[in-house]
Point group: C3
Chain length 345, copies 3
Amino acid sequence: MANFPPPWTLGQLASLLDAKLQGPADFVVDRPAAADEDDPRGIAFAESEKYLRTAEESHIGALLLPPSLDTTKPHLTVAHPRRAFGALLAWALKPLPLQPGIHPTAVVADSAQIDASASIGPYAVVECGVVIGARCRVYAHAYIGEGCILEEQCVIYPHAVLYRDVVLGARTVIHAGAILGSDGFGYFWDGKGQQKVPQTGRVMLGADCEIGSLTAIDRATAGTTRVDDGVKIDNLVQIAHNVRIGEHTVIASLCGVSGSARIGKRVTMAGKADLVDHVSICDDVMLGGRTAVARDINVPGAYLGAPAMPARDGLKALALQSRIPDLFERMRALETRIKELEAKD
Amino acid sequence: MANFPPPWTLGQLASLLDAKLQGPADFVVDRPAAADEDDPRGIAFAESEKYLRTAEESHIGALLLPPSLDTTKPHLTVAHPRRAFGALLAWALKPLPLQPGIHPTAVVADSAQIDASASIGPYAVVECGVVIGARCRVYAHAYIGEGCILEEQCVIYPHAVLYRDVVLGARTVIHAGAILGSDGFGYFWDGKGQQKVPQTGRVMLGADCEIGSLTAIDRATAGTTRVDDGVKIDNLVQIAHNVRIGEHTVIASLCGVSGSARIGKRVTMAGKADLVDHVSICDDVMLGGRTAVARDINVPGAYLGAPAMPARDGLKALALQSRIPDLFERMRALETRIKELEAKD
Amino acid sequence: MANFPPPWTLGQLASLLDAKLQGPADFVVDRPAAADEDDPRGIAFAESEKYLRTAEESHIGALLLPPSLDTTKPHLTVAHPRRAFGALLAWALKPLPLQPGIHPTAVVADSAQIDASASIGPYAVVECGVVIGARCRVYAHAYIGEGCILEEQCVIYPHAVLYRDVVLGARTVIHAGAILGSDGFGYFWDGKGQQKVPQTGRVMLGADCEIGSLTAIDRATAGTTRVDDGVKIDNLVQIAHNVRIGEHTVIASLCGVSGSARIGKRVTMAGKADLVDHVSICDDVMLGGRTAVARDINVPGAYLGAPAMPARDGLKALALQSRIPDLFERMRALETRIKELEAKD
């Protein structure tokens, strides 16, 4: 059932999802939707009374509900509404269109090796020595620089740029406007001006990575900026030169990882977290939003704050921020009272 | 007087702006400029003694002044210098050039419907099912994905990317390198790796929106990421999946709005403010720079700080940051003194 | 010795670097690398015992060492290993390929003046009135808007966008996806909606500047957004309208400089620092990571914190963040003790 695009009837969905039909079998839905959207042709899910109320107040057309919930709207009763909704999402997914083969407007160097099953979109530029594997999809305006290697089934969305010597593992996805392999930010002051340290290295991503739109991953000064298998990076993230990121790590939007920092496996960085240069984080660490890591973290667990502290402490410190003015007041009051006590002495 | 490009003579401007000419009528200015720029062919405005002094110390050529100010430089006396300067800006504005019609190098799908009065620039790619309205301007290298709809007079600057199913209301402007409709950042851990939640939704912008360069607005997981009429977003902003933003809201650079967050009407977010996921902000809220919203805001007004607090409190808390070390000192001193008192007891 | 690409033999390097060969003269290395990389064909440097140990634990092939260090790995002994390594970096540097002349797919306006020694890549668009100087390199998909001027030896990487009237001094480098000259973020509320202030100015960069990937520099409202000679800006930085940045200033990733801010010469901004609008910073200031400048800084030196304070104070304040909850505890304890003392009185 890999591909069953909408529109769907509730009857079809009941049968495919092994659900109990509660409403007209021929009721048509056009797409999965959010419970609070006024979309009479959408189908959403609700797992709690609260979400069900939201759905009932909106014009959403149909619902996926657990046996414990009921509504007068057309709905399907299923054991796991969220899981069933996931199936709808998968069926509804439509990739950006891309014609098979190499678009006549693509500029492909003679020495590039492009698998016959790969697709290259209009105005893509593929430079010398590039290797593009089976079933790769390179969209319009992508730039694949000299010596890049894309293993099978990579997807390069429109306007992504790979400078030279970028290697992508199988099934890795690069979103629009992401820039991989641009120069690391390295200069030294020679007494007259900033002199550039030549940036000669490369960028290697493992398999099953996904890199968000407008994210930058710089080439190493020497050697390799490395992102291991299964790493997911959101939009507008900065990964500096010589960084290494372990398997299955997840980095949310507007994070920054400074030069030569090391991030372990299965680390989570929430939005706007960052690491100073040369710092390292062990496996299985979670950084809360805006956490600033300025020293190595060697113990797995959750961290929060600027500078990073164990999340429990960080939450306390954050919660007290608004009471700092109060603390100054109390301090002044105490100082007065103690002066009075001392005077009496 | 929609279009009266420079160069201008002071005499022309005096007549057009209904101003009193104070200097040679044939004095030529080439452009509006800032008062502190050494631009002898520029004309600036000053509304205060302070700005006038700045202007007199620079080589700015001419000035717009209120009746209360005077200078030996060529100038025009007007009731409202700032307003008059606004008129000059409007006259001086020159759009990026774009030839009428569809550039021969544009790749336009057969099924795309492009209004005869629209312009499509070189190397633009317009995919199947796209609808482009009257007098739209789509610049070079723009990518307009399958099923996108642009109502009349939209402007898509060079290198902007619209993935599939992005809808833009009339007169909406997308700046260079902005990416609309890329996948939301949704994964779940299946015990072995991060599995992608298919991102099937769309992005809808209202009329009269303006989206800055290098800003990302993700498609919804299901349903719609929605930005209502008149919203203005600066450069390098992240708008995550399923977010909704109310009319006339203004969001400055490097802000982040996490998944499913809701922002009301006429909200202002200063630079680097952000919202965690699923949080909501009511109408008429102002968030100061770097404000972090982690809980719903239900009361209109100004907020500041991380976490967000009423601006008055936030200002106090910020102002006291530098005195926190001092507070520790005072605490230590108090503890000593109280110990002494207790000893005496 | 401007160009001596690898592979190298250790014997060749010994002779070129005036180093003592410690190992087989015919040992081949393919590239400079980091000491901790498992790259048997790489050559790294180590200046301390610590780095040497790291290198010995990795599979790095060869090393540059000072006379005070020794290893059984093939290595070269040199007085200044870091400097020698810098020479290797320079020799190893390979620019992105670009054919001489104007690529047949580039769209170049008739009125553009392009020096015969400049190179223009595939699908670049060069608009009317543009002047491109000697030995400039304009890569694929770059957009050079009307009236832009590039002095000699500028490099515009793929997908960079220059709106109209952007001027670049000699040898200035613009990385992929950077956007120069887009509209400043200026609106005013007219009681019904946000009205746009026309953005009519330009952007001028001096000589020897380097602008990172996905960085935005907005045109001035009127006049000029100015970046002086030798300024280096990292990826994902926002430079707003009418900003001025003095010579040799360095700005790291994810910094934001708000409208009309002034930054002096030789200023350093570490990652995520920012300035509010209209604020000014004098020469020779260093801002630590995440520093927020909300008031003028008139004294050279290092600053840290939000709001910015002298770095010494900022470090103290940061170090105490995690002890704020403790401070509240101590305050409560003191209040109790003083109450007891007062009761006894």
